[in-house]
Amino acid sequence: MPSSADPPAPLRARHVLEFPGGYTRTTGPVIGRFLTEMRDGRLVGVRTAAGRTLVPPLEYDPDTGDAVTEEFVEVGPSGTVESWAWVSTPRKGHPLDRPFAWALIRLDGADTSLVHAVDAGDVRAMRPGLRVRPRWRAERTGHITDIESFVPEVTRIVSEVRTEYTVTPGLALRRFLEGIAEGVLIGCRCGTCHKVYVPYRSSCPECGVSITEEVVVPDTGTITTFAVNNLPDPRAPEVPFVSAYIQLDGTDIPMIALVGGIAAHEVRQGMRVRAVWVPEEERTMSMANIRWFAPTGEPDVEL
């Protein structure tokens, strides 16, 4: 009968065949046993005379037509996906309303495969040999859909690991950063070996003794070596960028810093550079006060 919601066009009518309340299908003993077990949350197969376990059980051996035995065996609950077809846009009537895979599933202990749905979430989760298990509905009636779908066995967990710290720079680095805030590079001299280190540090790495003598070092120096980096980094303005070992004048050890104000491929070992500081009002207690080191234009130093 035409629906009042769809006014029919001339000579085109909507028509439905539907037996109200649905068909009553009797199952016979074999299918009935399978579905009874399903209603109880179990999967079973039946043995053929030839010794195969059929899942789902039939009353007859499909190869010979002979009747099967009366021996039912529990199979699964896990099984292995043998093949699958991914549904990107489910239809009404499909087992799931989100993308899923139709699959042939060989339940453990079965010699034939069951057709059902696998709720894998993403097609990339489907792979040959995928192990799956049934997701049973809470309310079961004895129906193939008592299993809502199969789901992949757990193979991984995701663990959030987050540890939070309140850190401080250490006494020496704090002193150095105090200097940086004032636009000054503070190094130190070891009382034993007399080498000058920058940044300021508490002990001499060579002598292992405490260092107490501060030395203010100039912000000019020489590039001893460098890297041209082609992978982006949040601290660098663009790619490629140069990170260089810069030995400040009067010191005995290089610092690592960005080089800017020159094309990456024009940087040379031995090049003379000077720090480019951010404007005073933008300075903080961090190395970000030095935007980068740029060439001074002086002749290169021979290394």
Binding site: T155, R156, S159, V161, V167, T168, P169, G170, L173, F176, L177, C193, K195, V196, Y197, P199, P205, E206, T224, T225, F226, A227, V228, N229, N230, L231, D233, R235, S243, A244, Y245, T251, D252, I253, M255, I256, A257, L258, Q269, S286, M287, L303
Partner: protein, 383 residues
């Protein structure tokens, strides 16, 4: 004096980007069981267990010897966990050997591993505390400047690194455990890959791998299994990363460590007296640099040795017959793999990548800013 120590079992997992099929315990057990099987032993026969790995941040499991104790049959036994940055695999073997050499235990299981696919190696290596004075860059960014300085000092031509990149991956094809399998790899292929940190191209770098390696070490009166490899020398050296006047291209720590091992093993001319070397080369240019650092070539001449083909599998001093770190790199295990492969060589058990007649082999590992070194010499004859 120190007691002789033998390697009687070696076990490895097939190195790969992600081992999806095992738990952490499963991964280490796989290597450990293979080593035990090689030695013809079971868990009960082991007196002590030493594990090593890189920073726990990779897997997010802190001090994993606690969780892994029973997985490695260590319940009721002593267990240690070593952490010396990239050299850790090597240090782990040395700590295990030390227990034998010191007469404290008779049979020790050493295992090193990394399951770095659980996070991301690049991320884990670039975490750092705030308040740094120096710019911190990733591993390649750290080593590239030192490679540049090596090239400047030695005058080495640009393609040398690529020769190593090809050689080691060709060797890997003969190693069933190796991660990278690139049949047909050649110089052209390497040179066509993106430049990451000059002069390091993509194929000049090591992969990120999951894997584990294990060895069973034994005292001389507790040998089992087929053929032992004998530890002829063992040493570690560390130097400060920021020392005025530090030579980052040819670190003193590496030279001193090698000299100590050679002295113990009675080696005077490494190039001639060592049959095969498994050396930690994570970026291809480190082969010529380490050839000099370890005394196989004079200063400035390492690249010539590489170029001559001497370090190829059919050369007179094969380096990294296994494919090396360039082919497989579970970071915490890589050092131990070098030590284990050296042992396999002198036991005649390296299969398709066996160097014929190898009787003395060097295993080498380094870590940090090229500041931690661990090395051993193994041989077929008892010292």
């Amino acid at each position: 004096m120190s007691n002789p120590c033998a390697v009687i079992g070696v076990g490895q997992t097939r190195y790969t980007t992600k081992r999806r099929d095992v738990s952490l315990a499963g991964l280490v057990r796989e290597a450990a069981l293979r080593a035990l099987q090689d030695a013809g032993l079971t868990w009960k026969d082991i007196d002590a267990v030493v594990i090593g790995k890189a920073p726990d941040l990779f897997e997010g499991v802190m001090m994993p010897e606690a969780y892994l104790a029973d997985a490695l049959g260590a319940a009721g036994k002593p267990m240690m966990r070593v952490h010396t940055a990239g050299s850790v695999g090597g240090s782990t073997a040395l700590v295990g050997a030390s227990l034998i050499q010191g007469g404290v235990h008779d049979r020790v299981l050493v295992v090193a591993f990394e399951k770095q696919s659980e996070s991301n190696a690049t991320w884990a290596l670039s975490t750092h505390l705030p308040f740094s004075a120096s710019l911190v860059v990733g591993a390649g960014g750290y080593f590239a400047p030192h490679i540049r300085e090596y090239i400047r000092r030695s005058g080495a031509p640009e393609h040398i690194g690529h020769l190593v990149a090809v050689k080691d991956r060709r060797n890997a094809l003969k190693n069933p455990y190796a991660h990278l399998r690139i049949p047909g790899i050649d110089r052209e292929m390497v040179e066509s890959t993106p430049m990451l940190w000059e002069p390091i191209r993509y194929l000049d770098t090591c992969p990120s791998s999951d894997g584990a390696c294990a060895m069973v070490l034994a005292a001389q009166d507790r040998l089992t299994g087929s053929t032992p490899a004998w530890v002829l020398g063992a040493a570690t050296r560390s130097e400060p990363i920021f020392r005025a006047g530090r030579d980052t291209v040819n670190p003193q720590g590496g030279k001193d460590c090698a000299a100590d091992v050679y002295r113990q093993a009675g080696i005077v001319d490494p190039r001639r007296e060592i049959d095969v070397a498994e050396v930690y080369v994570p970026f291809s240019w480190y082969e010529p640099m380490w050839l000099e650092n370890l005394g196989f070539a004079a200063e400035g001449e390492g690249w010539k040795l590489t170029e001559s083909g001497a370090t190829a599998l059919d050369g007179d001093i094969p380096w990294n017959a296994s494919g090396g770190v360039l082919s497989s790199n579970p970071i915490g295990a890589s050092g131990l793999i070098r030590f284990a492969e050296a042992a396999l060589q002198v036991r005649g058990m390296a299969g398709e990548h066996q160097v014929d007649g190898a009787r003395r082999a060097l295993g080498h590992a380094y870590g940090g800013g090229a500041q931690f070194f661990a090395m051993w010499m193994v041989g077929s004859d008892k010292p």
